[in-house]
């Protein structure tokens, strides 16, 4: 089972399974303690300059937007960032916070290539882009979540993706087929937004789970933002609904409309105009700055943000929510 090919991409977040095990043993409490805090406190406490960070799900869908804005507000710099995003990572790119990227997809979906991404990468402000597919970056987290150093896949093979990644190709010793081995990925910090959590961090998600299960189990620090904080009794009544157990969680932030202007399944739909505002303003660096001034730097916190958006627009978003029918 010799190495047939090795990607030349940098492993921008080197890993050591034994160190992660030790972290999980000594740095993650098993006690049920109240972890509720504000965005300000959570980001200040757990996000740091140069950390390797990721968000889930993505910009317009169940995204930790209130946390993402707080990261900008606190000007956390030199971030090394995992994966894919829409608005949330685009804000960080526009604010000049990202130094290195394990990139899968940063786009504006139907609105195309984000000008902020282009400016940040083409200018060299983002120093390194290591390429991964959406599945392979998730399986990298899954490897860490499983506690193993790699997972095999038949993706990435034969392409420049493999070449510019940090994967390795080997021959399967059982049947002789070629597989790419994806190195495990342990994030320093993960931000995940959910429908409901209790004060300890037990989380429920409605609708698709995206890669929340994998990311929550593949990080050293996990900040949860939740639309609702529910009593622990409701968690214990439906233990089969807990997808992220409390012992993975370091902070619980109550963030109603935390995914706005993106959507939250069964709670509110996306605000197309709100998304379009970023798309339009971020066309230029000046416009992006103006947007950040208006929606981030000019506001104290998420409550002030929601005030600025206004009740009418939020109610309209609720009106367009997906319903169980």
């Amino acid at each position: 089972m010799q190495i047939l090919e090795s990607g030349i991409g940098e492993l921008i977040q080197p890993f050591d399974m034994d160190e992660f095990r030790e972290w999980n043993r000594t740095r993650k409490s098993r006690k049920l303690v109240d972890k509720r805090m504000s965005e300000q406190e959570a980001v200040s406490k757990f996000v740091y300059d140069g950390c390797y960070i990721g968000t889930e799900l993505y910009g317009t869908v169940r995204a930790p937007m209130s946390l993402a804005r707080e990261v900008v507000r606190q000007n956390k710099k030199d971030l090394r960032v995992c994966g894919q995003g829409v608005l949330e990572l685009d804000l960080w790119l526009a604010a000049g916070l990202i130094k290195k990227l394990d990139i899968t997809y940063i786009g504006l979906e139907v609105y195309g290539i984000p000008p902020s991404l282009r400016r940040a990468v083409e200018s060299g402000q983002v120093e390194t882009c290591v390429e991964w597919s959406n599945a392979s970056i998730t399986w990298r987290m899954k490897a860490a979540a499983m506690g193993v150093p790699f997972l095999p896949t038949r993706s990435m093979l034969g392409t420049d993706m493999l070449k510019y990644s940090a994967a390795k190709v080997v021959e399967d010793p059982f049947t002789g087929i070629k597989v790419a081995l994806l190195p495990a990925l342990v994030l320093d910090v993960a931000l995940i937004h959910v429908q409901r959590a209790d004060m300890f961090g037990n989380c429920q998600i409605d609708g698709i789970t995206g890669f929340a299960l994998e990311m929550s189990r593949a990080c050293k620090r996990l900040i949860i933002s939740a639309e609702e904080i529910i009593p622990t009794e409701d968690i214990r009544k439906y233990p089969d609904r807990t997808v992220i157990p409390y012992y993975l969680v370091d902070a619980v932030v109550h963030a109603p409309f935390g995914s706005y202007p993106g959507e939250m399944a069964y709670m509110y739909g996306r605000d197309e105009a709100g998304i379009k505002e970023w798309v339009d303003m971020s066309a230029t660096a000046e416009g992006a700055k103006e947007y950040l001034d208006k929606y981030v730097f000019g506001l104290k916190d998420h409550a002030a943000y929601l005030d600025l958006i206004g009740k009418d627009r939020l109610e309209q978003a609720v009106e367009t929510r997906e319903r169980r029918e």
């Binding site: 997809y105 290539i113 991964w132 038949r154 993706s155 093979l157 034969g158 993706m161």
Partner: protein, 255 residues
């Protein structure tokens, strides 16, 4: 009765929709594939099983999804799980078709959505593979949807993001990609292409109304294989256009 007028985008959607096989599982990406899937479901492929990469399977597409993760991708769906479930389902051979886009395509159907120019110092940074590479690796057949011009249809993509037939017959399998998989069609703004089995090179299959072979050749920066007979693509029918305009995208989000 005069022919209805239509846009080039509407035509592409119709052409893509007609390629859906009834009862097949299909990975659907953002944009035109979503409109095509909805049109197919309302016309020739009522048993289509749409799969969206972040976890939605078997949705009933009553309203147009604008993103691959939004709730409409699992509206009245049969399951709403996560990206591992859909990608692993594809990796073990359950997904028949994948719809893909890209900034560049080459004669073997390889796609680029990472960079124009050099990877480390790109002229244009594109969004990245997303699920593209996975879809192109795992699905049995892939269908690319592309703007057709000579800057996009080129001999060699700047960055091989999503595998087509790589460098020709046998090379996908030699690289380790699952046997029997690969590109099936290209739906462009000018024509429908398939691939010549012996050479794995892109071949003109059918022309859109009013488009000539010469126009396609002029917009293609490599030698396109010519079939013995070039088919004609029928214009969108009145019912197709009505569905598209009134039911699928009444808010004119895409069309």
């Amino acid at each position: 009765m005069s022919e209805p007028t239509y846009t080039r985008t509407e035509l592409m959607i119709c052409v893509a929709a007609r390629l859906f096989e009834d009862g097949a599982t299909c990975f659907i990406g953002t944009g035109i594939p979503m409109l095509a899937a909805m049109l197919a479901a309302k016309t020739t492929a009522p048993n289509l099983v749409p799969v969206f990469e972040f976890g939605g399977t078997g949705a009933i597409l009553e309203e147009l999804p604008r993103a691959v993760g939004e709730a409409r991708t699992f509206h009245k769906g049969i399951s709403a799980l996560g990206i591992c479930d859909t990608m692993e389902t594809a990796q073990r051979g359950f997904i028949d078709y994948g719809f893909l886009g890209g900034a560049q395509i080459d004669p073997y159907g390889n796609l680029n959505s990472v960079v124009i120019g050099d990877h480390d110092h790109p002229r244009v940074r594109l969004p990245g593979s997303g699920g593209g590479n996975d879809v192109g690796s795992f699905c049995w057949k892939t269908i690319a949807i592309m703007q057709h011009d000579a800057r996009r249809f080129i001999p060699k993509v700047d960055f091989l993001t999503t595998p087509g037939f790589l460098t020709g017959p046998g090379t996908r399998q030699a690289a380790g990609l699952p046997p029997g998989t690969g590109p099936a069609y290209v739906v462009s703004t000018l024509a429908l292409m398939d691939y010549e089995p012996a050479s794995c090179r892109m071949r003109l299959k059918a022309l859109y109304p009013g488009v000539t072979v010469e126009a396609v050749v002029a917009s293609t920066n490599f030698e396109l294989v010519m079939p013995t007979h070039v088919e004609d693509i029928p214009a969108p029918g009145a019912e197709e256009l009505r569905l598209l305009r009134d039911e699928i995208d009444p808010l004119k989000f895409y069309i």
